[in-house]
Symmetry: C2
Subunit: 223 residues, 2 copies
Amino acid sequence: MADNDRVPTNSRTDSSKTRNSKAAHGKPAGPAPARRRELLATAAEVFAAQGYNATTVRRIADEAGLLAGSLYYHFDSKESMLDEILSTFLDELWAGYDAVLAAGLGPSETLQALVTESFREIDRHRPAVAIYQKESRHLAAQPRFAYLAASQRRFEKLWLGTLERGVAEGAFRADLDARLTYRFVRDTVWVAASWYRPGGRHHPEEIARQYLSMVLDGIAVRT
Amino acid sequence: MADNDRVPTNSRTDSSKTRNSKAAHGKPAGPAPARRRELLATAAEVFAAQGYNATTVRRIADEAGLLAGSLYYHFDSKESMLDEILSTFLDELWAGYDAVLAAGLGPSETLQALVTESFREIDRHRPAVAIYQKESRHLAAQPRFAYLAASQRRFEKLWLGTLERGVAEGAFRADLDARLTYRFVRDTVWVAASWYRPGGRHHPEEIARQYLSMVLDGIAVRT
DNA sequence: CTCCTTCCCTAACAAGTGTTTGGTAGGTTA
DNA sequence: TAACCTACCAAACACTTGTTAGGGAAGGAG
């Protein structure tokens, strides 16, 4: 993703005796060891539940069954865990969106495909999405997380553009403020991560279907 | 509010020489001095911007133009500031909702009145709403903030009940999952606090009107 | 066997945290 | 004038935080 080709600000000396730092050119080192991903998964779970700042590295270590210091064999810092969780999520998200765009659909179909894809991403990355929701606003101010702001701008361009194209082509109502509509649609989709539980009654596609039915046709009975 | 008649867990000795603690029976002491409300307002602003845990009392003091220790002349603890911010907001919110209910309207009109009232509350208590959004989930686990969970239950009963009554009376579509609809409606209303800025282009009533138009009639052009 | 790598532990450190204590300038009251 | 209250400051305290340094057990490779 063009938005994510930043290099992590690695302030510590890269001893190259541990594998806790990313490779020099962006992505995590090599085949991303299985243990590393396990630890990231539990860290994401705790971050999502307690909030990033309220989570101590000792809590993460407890949950993972090791001691706090041992985490630093795998990762540079607590912040780099957060970084890796968020950036891998965003990479996958944009891969999915780009696939939708490549299909070259009309506005209404594009909107539906984007919404469906979004709920699928929530299903796959629920903790990451929850963290993104809670922390992205004040994280985006930090240089290290500048890619969050970049992603958000690209996000707005994509969704708002789709809505406006739909209005121009007569698929969507013209009497609604497009920016307001964009915010409502965006928020409602992503806030679902706060209550969605994988393996529950509704699978992502069913939630997307109901959501789209509501947004497109409204909840009022047509008279 | 029946939900809020808790007594703050005041672990410290109540010297009664300072006025930093609440009166024995629930609400803040007496006429709630002006200075106290000023400080609470700036605290709420910082909490909303940075997150509660990421905010230090020294930062609040800086913003208010005094030293960290001086805050403890007015308040028991950092946590009690948060408590007072959230509980006063919820009290006012429910006062507004109760006024709507007292009008005895039909389901659709009740929904519209509730949404409008909600956006008015966001206009008045934007920082408190933002804090509530970010922190309420993991705060509700603490005994001191049990009233958050109670309020949430009452909230669900009110909104879900209104939706179901509307379905029963033929005002709302029957083919939508009521609980899913409730979550979408609820989230979209309250997340607005994260981007809403008082004094902007749209006043609360205008936002409520557009939002209701979208939720009730949908964004698609009727064919 | 020895060497090396992987993964973790023990033990500590320095910075930052919420909070307390004692004091004090300035205004109000007696 | 003297006593008192309000609202703050200055300085510290106890504790938690993220992080580091050094060492060691297990296991495969030579």
